[in-house]
């Protein structure tokens, strides 16, 4: 019988497995998964939230690092000439942003633009004819980047031939006349030698009868009503210009040598290629990643500072609300009864107060009287109502947990109120609080940019700027220079979407039971 085969085992066959060592449970090989680790594992699975977190990281790093690396400083005008430039970013030869706008050019204007490139490549115009034209079009300094086919446009009853072209807003400035001292002249000459970049170009003979606009340095060739002329002084059309080139109108001395300056009293009047002159004065090429705004300030740098303002403000509000809201909600929820009722009424009143009134009152009473900085006043105003959401969440959590058995047990063991609140109940609410604090950030950023857009608060100063102000400044240029407004607007939109997705991810990760609650 199988059952009974162990019935008669002799005693001596038994022996101890161990006698001297102590028996322990085996240590767990797997790592313990805590609350945050658990949340992180869940968060990782949500691809949209992870992507949002990456986007936020990039924006954050941008705000943090760009001011250190950018050659353009806040409050420093790039140059009055380089106002409203379009975004420009070249990586090697490929253009991510080409810094150009689409223009409709007639033949006359086209010649004028190509002439900038022609002269820039060949200062003394030694090349002639078609070769010169080709070089002008292909020049690094040529305003015309891409030239479209010609088309007939009807304008006020007349048929005009026009071409669509991508025209670089950086190169269209071309040449400028400047008044400089003799020392400066020598210094530019020395700089030219050192860097092998040409700044000074031949002066134009403004006394010539074929020089129609003595103030425009881009008309360096002989013209008649804006059209180039041939040797006989007869105006030539585009095809001929392409074949023959234009005739220069440089200032020459009696021997026929080209002059590079004209003495005017103690000053020299010179003609510079502005792009290179900028390099001489600033030490770098005029290239602006996101272009420049209406005042000639670098948008990329300003945006980094604007983002810093937003982050400082919103993180500040989030932290204050986190702490104050947690305390307030804890006291409400734990004590309940009359305390709760009274505190809830305060919340009700504050919560019903429109945010803009609070902001304006803080601005009028604290900021305008000099008791607080603009940012400080705004921070306080947001904090007045910002904590309410956190407080009510904490309160709900406290109501849920305060009557559970483990709290009763702890109380029986003699735990004091504070210990019960923050050691035993509070950790249950931590996920909720973090989530609500994260959701507070985008709403603060949005309110801040709205208020600064409306001019209710003025965060614009020498060392700070706000995205809202940038948008308000760009509003008037929306039709022609949309990038001034639309770039900050895009960044705000992107940031808002990312924050909301990130917040949703956090909420799902911390409270899996709430998943998709209000998606």
């Amino acid at each position: 019988m199988a059952e009974n085969q162990f019935n008669s085992i002799p005693v001596e066959k038994f022996r101890f497995v161990q006698q001297k060592e102590k028996l322990h449970d085996k240590a767990l090989k797997t790592k313990p998964i805590g609350y945050f680790k658990d949340a992180w594992i869940r968060f990782r699975k949500n691809k949209a939230s992870v992507a949002a977190a990456i986007v936020l990281g990039i924006i954050f790093l941008y705000a943090l690092l760009v001011p250190f690396f950018s050659v353009h400083k806040l409050g420093e005008k790039a140059d009055a000439t380089y106002k409203k430039m379009f975004p420009r970013l070249y990586i090697g030869e490929t253009a991510i942003f080409d810094g150009a706008k689409t223009m409709s050019l007639n033949d006359k204007y086209l010649i004028n633009l190509v002439a900038i490139g022609m002269n820039a490549e060949d200062p003394e115009m030694e090349k002639k004819g078609h070769e010169s034209w080709e070089e002008g079009i292909g020049s690094y300094y040529s305003p015309v980047l891409v030239l479209g086919e010609e088309r007939v446009v009807e304008e006020s009853g007349k048929e005009n031939v026009k071409r669509d072209a991508r025209v670089s807003t950086y190169n269209i400035i071309g040449f400028r006349y400047l008044q400089i001292t003799k020392e400066e002249y020598a210094s530019i000459r020395a700089w030219e030698q050192e860097h092998d970049v040409r700044v000074l170009y031949p002066m134009v003979n403004t006394a010539d009868k074929y020089c129609e606009d003595p103030s425009d340095a881009n008309y360096w060739y002989k013209t008649k009503k804006g059209w180039p002329v041939n040797e006989k002084g007869k105006r030539i059309e585009l095809e001929q210009t392409m074949e023959l080139g234009v005739i220069d109108n440089f200032l020459r001395d009696k021997e026929g040598n080209i002059l590079y300056y004209k003495e005017q009293g103690t000053m020299y009047s010179v003609r510079v290629l502005y792009y290179n002159y900028y390099q001489y004065t600033h030490g770098y090429e005029p290239t602006f990643l996101f272009g420049t705004d209406g005042g000639g300030y670098d948008i990329a740098t300003r945006m980094a500072y604007g983002l810093r303002t937003s982050f400082v403000l919103s993180f500040g509000v989030a932290v204050v609300c986190f702490i104050f809201g947690a305390f307030y909600g804890a006291i409400e929820g734990y004590y309940g009864g009359w305390t709760d009722l009274l505190m809830e009424r305060i919340v009700d009143i504050l919560w019903r107060m429109p945010l803009y009134i609070i902001v304006v009152l803080f601005q009028l009473h604290l900021v305008n009287t000099g008791k607080a900085s603009v940012l400080g006043g705004l921070l306080m105003a947001f904090c007045v109502t910002g904590w309410i959401g956190t407080a009510s969440l904490v309160r709900t959590q406290f109501y849920r947990f305060k009557n559970q058995e483990y709290i009763l047990a702890a109380r029986t063991l003699g735990a004091k109120d504070l210990r019960l609140m923050f050691r035993h109940i509070f950790p249950n609410a931590i996920g909720t609080i973090i989530t609500s604090s994260v959701f507070a950030i985008p709403s603060v950023i949005m309110s801040e940019s709205t208020f600064s857009y409306l001019g209710i608060v003025n965060l614009n100063s020498r060392n700070s700027v706000s995205l809202g102000t940038m948008m308000a400044d760009g509003k008037e240029f929306l039709s022609e220079f949309p990038h001034i407004l639309l770039i900050p607007a895009t960044v705000i939109a992107l940031m808002m979407i990312a924050f909301n997705l990130f917040g949703n991810g956090l909420r799902d990760a911390f409270n899996p039971s709430l998943r998709g609650a209000d998606e």
Binding site: R345, D348, I349, R352, M353, P354, Y356, I357, V360, L361, L364, H365, P442, M446, S449, T450, Y453, L454, G455, I456, M471, K475, L478, S479, P482, L485, L486, A489, I492, A493, M496, I497, F499, N500, L501, N504, G516, A517, D518, E519
Partner: protein, 319 residues
Amino acid sequence: MRTFKYVLKRLLFLAITFFIILTITFCLIKMLQAEVPLGKQGQTELARRKALGWDKPILVQYGIYLRNLFTKFDIGTSLKVSYMTPVAEVIASRMPPTILVNVLSILLGLPLGIVLGIFAALKKNTWIDHVVSVVIVVFISVPSFVLAFFLQYFLSFKAGWFPLVMFSKSEAGGLFTWKMVYSLMLPIMASAFYEIAYFARTVRAELTEALTSDYMLLARTKGLTQSKAVIHHALKNAMVPILPVVIGTFLSIMGGSMVLERIFAIPGVGDLTLKALSTLDYDLFVGTAMFYTLIGLLAGIVTDLSYGFLDPRIKMGER
């Protein structure tokens, strides 16, 4: 009876809240020193202000304010934006454009939002649902004024479909004309996008819950087709919580979006508020602030009460 008591209690509390906020705003605004006008014009100006009681202590002024408010519904006089006009009149004259934009944006947003929400709920976890979810997240997160810029640039400047700002009354031949509606399309769209997303999200959540409920199972078991069951049972139940949301939304945006009114040059209450702020028109500031406060309070109470009236399962006044 309990319902009546509850409503009364809520109304009483609404009044208390309103007066506390009014007191705070009034006193804090009046505490600021009004600049003293100079010259001969200034003398008459000062005399006028004296007649309005501006030289008295703040609390006395507040007493006068309250007395006027209760006896003749007079909430002060505008000094800057619209000289020597009663504030109530100024605000009332700015209401029509704001209401027009809001009503139209709800008319556009509500059906679209509900349809989107229904689609998303019926096709849950398909690509339609995912697309709708993305649209919802985008429209809910992006501030309406940022959307307004994009609309202005692409639909007005680039495509030339809509005018950049609202037509004046003479241009459109009156406020309630088709031409005016056409000129208001951009602000309507800018505020409707948020509403679309908001309604779609609510409908989707409610309908998803209704579709998985027991009564739907019963309806299918007794032989109804899926579409019949959805229309007669799920939709009906899912729509109940939507109505309070609609009422609440309508009331809360009644004040209009200040920023949208500024962008599209709409002469509404939001625009008026901004003017009162920038010129520091004291009475008008208090007046507009109270207008917004009252709207917020009413929206809250109406939303809460309508839940109770529409859904008999919710017993009002219960804890």
